[in-house]
Symmetry: C2
Subunit: 529 residues, 2 copies
């Protein structure tokens, strides 16, 4: 058995890969593929965490964001909040370990969900500058504030604490982080400035102060003292459940019967529904969940699919709301027409979600440019990876011509419009760990399209009634203005009475105008059918 095959040679190279090594080599998966985006990611992850912590602790958020420029390529990002703070025992893992957090295992809308974001920023910071992250956190005025400097040991995916001591701090509770990293600061549509502006729009309960790299201080004042409705933690919904998940849940449940399992471990299942599922699957309702075989689990799953179960509760979600969406659009864009819609809650893979859409049209919006699409997920603006996003695909796949916008193929339409789409979910399926684009689940695409079509139809009616008609009226007015002159010319040619000529010309115009307006009224309906 001493023969060394090619398989032996290859086997020597097989080994385990640490998650930190994986993401160091794949840092673009985390959004760090260029310095401009890296700077945004650092601000974004820190701000998301601060807002989530404040929301969860029911604290009105006060954020101070500062970006210090050390050189064209080197920055320090500082984010300070008045949140609940982080326990000494957990703090190193929160910042120094990938795949660690409180949001992954629960069903509730939050900005963060993966346990990767902020530690990814630490990873990138140490990769590009070799510097540790600096953190101050305090959980109560009765306790001292703690100061930490830490690294990530990438081979082990563990925090490596370089400094740990008590420190004087003015705040009763909160967290302040300071990260040095390579980056580039640019203004424009994918900038930190734009990000913070959009965050302020969809988080009107937050007070944000931002000092930009040019040391300019910008205040985003709180627009309301009311905290947004706290999203409640819920249990998974049976619809969209997968066999593997069902089998894992059956294996670990504390319920003593299958019916008890369905009633206790899922939302929207009562005794009647549980019995119906068991009956359909020919599984006894009172046997222990641990005894269920693969085939029985498959029968149960089939029965679930065939059983009518109420739609998931929207309590776990916190959509922006039609009113606020329109308010945000009005604040930002000087348009002449606004339309918004909030779809009912739907489910993909057992996760509830809600789609909201809005359109601003006309006014000062540029007529000849591509329509601007603004994407949000769980109140977080998505500025990158537009092309990868199912929101974009749903948007370009929508036929905008019947709704009055110019469009060639499945491309961005052109016209004076801004379109907003917001997805709220207990688990937004992002296409990468950078959380910038929503994955292509058919259930989500369908809802986005329905939301866009709802808004589109109303926009179409508005455009046909007001815009096209007014354009036609302008032409008619112009023609009418030249009637006397035309009549004069015709008089010179024909010798016919000028009054008579003018009268006839007006008649012709009136007749044609009726035709034109009739066409406008009908046009849309024809396109829709």
């Amino acid at each position: 058995m001493s023969e060394k095959t090619k398989a032996h040679e290859m086997a020597e190279k097989q080994k385990e890969i640490s998650i930190s090594e994986f993401f160091t080599k794949n840092r673009h998966l985390l959004g760090f593929d260029n310095p401009t985006r890296a700077l945004l990611m650092a601000v974004k992850e820190a701000v998301d965490n601060s807002l989530d912590a404040c929301d969860e602790a029911s604290i009105l958020p006060e954020l101070n964001i500062e970006i210090k420029k050390l050189s064209e390529e080197r920055f320090i990002v500082i984010v300070e909040d008045n949140g609940p703070g982080i326990l000494k025992a957990n703090l190193p893992n929160v910042f120094g370990k990938l795949l660690y957090g409180s949001k992954f295992h629960r069903y509730r809308q939050s900005r963060g969900q993966q346990g990767i974001g902020i530690s990814a920023v630490v990873l990138y910071s140490q990769l590009t500058t070799g510097k540790p992250i600096k953190v101050i956190s305090r959980i109560s005025e009765k306790r001292p504030a703690m100061y930490y400097e830490l690294h990530i040991d990438t081979a082990k995916n563990e925090p490596k604490i370089l400094k740990e001591n008590e420190i004087e701090w003015k705040k009763a509770h909160g967290t302040k982080i300071e990260i040095e990293l390579e980056g580039r600061y640019l203004k424009g549509k994918q900038s930190v400035d734009e990000y913070i502006k959009q965050v302020a729009i969809v988080n009107p309960h937050a007070q944000i102060t931002y000092i930009d790299p040019d040391k300019e201080k910008i205040n985003f004042s709180r627009a309301t003292d009311k905290l947004p409705k706290l999203a409640e933690e819920i249990k998974p919904h049976p619809h969209g459940l997968e066999l593997g998940t069902l089998m894992s849940m059956l294996a670990v449940t504390k319920a003593r019967s299958v019916s008890g399992f369905f009633i206790g471990d899922f939302s929207r299942v009562g005794p009647t529904t549980a019995k119906e599922i068991c009956d359909k699957a020919k599984v006894k309702a009172d046997i222990s969940p641990k005894t269920i075989t693969r085939d029985q689990a498959e029968a149960l799953l089939k029965a679930i699919k065939e059983t009518k179960i109420s739609a998931p509760s929207a309590d776990s979600l916190s959509p922006i709301g039609a009113e606020l969406l329109e308010k945000s659009l009005r604040k930002e864009f000087n348009a002449e027409y606004f339309v918004t819609t909030t779809r009912p809650a739907e489910v993909y893979r057992g996760f509830p979600f809600i789609i909201e859409a809005a359109i601003a049209f006309g006014g000062d919006l540029p007529k000849e440019e591509q329509v601007k699409l603004l994407r949000f997920a769980n109140r977080v603006p998505l500025l990158y990876q537009q092309g990868a996003c199912s929101v974009t695909e749903s948007f370009t796949d929508t036929n905008w011509k019947p709704y009055g916008l110019e469009q060639k193929g499945a491309n961005f339409p052109f016209g004076p419009a801004v379109v907003i789409v917001h997805i709220s979910s207990v688990w937004v399926p992002f296409t990468s760990e950078a959380k910038e684009a929503v994955a292509h689940y058919p259930e989500i695409i369908k809802e986005i399209k329905l939301a866009l079509q709802e808004c589109g139809r109303k926009l179409g009616i508005y455009i046909r009634k007001h815009v096209r008609a007014s354009e036609q009226r302008d032409k008619v007015d112009l023609f009418e203005k030249y009637i006397p002159e035309l009549a004069n010319s015709l008089y010179n040619l024909s010798g016919e009475s000028k009054t008579k000529l003018e009268e006839n010309l007006r008649k012709i115009l009136k007749k044609n105008m009726k035709d034109i307006l009739g066409e406008i009224e009908d046009g849309g309906e024809k396109d829709k059918s």
Copy 2:
């Protein structure tokens, strides 16, 4: 100290997340966001592994692929190869553990690179069907073939072996896997059929038999008995290196001096270059790498950036080659003009890469449709996530108008053309674990654009010289045909001699034709400037 703060409550929920749990919840990151794509991913990961194993063992690949349809939503994927086989000790981890493999830690072009692909398929299979993967593998005719059935324990990210025994098998060496999963089989441009066809095109040394779900057998015969040039394993190139990576390398190197470290652990660095780097950084060349501080490492990195170092060797890469690229295009498309280009090797973040591009134009290609873009990475066709790919962005950002194609804004151009882009790299930076789109590194985008522009310029010259000219000539011909009739009409009006009239008309035509053709010759140059 008994006060329970909000931070305490939140801390209770903080916990570690297993990588298998992470990818189960995020299965769209792995490409499993809909059943059609899931079926493709299963075939793709298995085929990529088989071809990589054969290439590495210098075996001409013979692949049997079969998809058995159990129902509209349930399939069995079988992939069998004549590769080197997998050792008993490693096999369970290869299929039952995410982040495990031989390709992650080395610098060499291969299809797989992450240690995730095939175990992700196993994860998805068990999630949707609860069934284990079945594997047969044999490493030599002197040893028995081994049969395995295994699961992944998602909470631990470890393989769970359900069956393990010797088995009779006809092959001397090779691996056969059988996976049951939920899927959907569709024909068309993102189908398994299309994938296998494109694989055969860029792997002309592979013999592939494919039995589709309708039991139709398709043979893709080997076009050459020559193995492609084996990509060699190289050391990283100093350009594009990051501080964190440099610091980690300094900490673990076996070299005893800094200059020895640079010479031994990098490619393209000799004693002169090593000395130059140390001198510029004001670091003594003979001190131990372990003693280098963060600030010294930063100085060394700065010095590396300012030092001229030869471009990386292309030995680690295995591009398709201009000849084969054109051959593939000719095989697939009945076009009238072909142009291909292979750029020199470049580096991003220390990883060498080569961009190849090709265009087929005219002939039977549809005139009124969007130009078709085919993307490849390390000889693997990329069928999904076109919108997320830097290849697509580079393509739409290119101004195709001067090259004779119709284009509105930064959208897909229209015209009778197919464009191919292939990136070969020791580490292709994909935007997600599903490996369907290339991340937006500026160095890569620049090279793709240059390759497209090179092809585009040649296409533009061809279109101006042949296509536009021939269109104009058609018009001239048409006009010439009517000269006698026109002359006759003019004779009736004027009484002038018909011969004289025809002669004059021909003179006018000739004069204008010259103008037209002159304009055609100049047009392109004007556009380019």
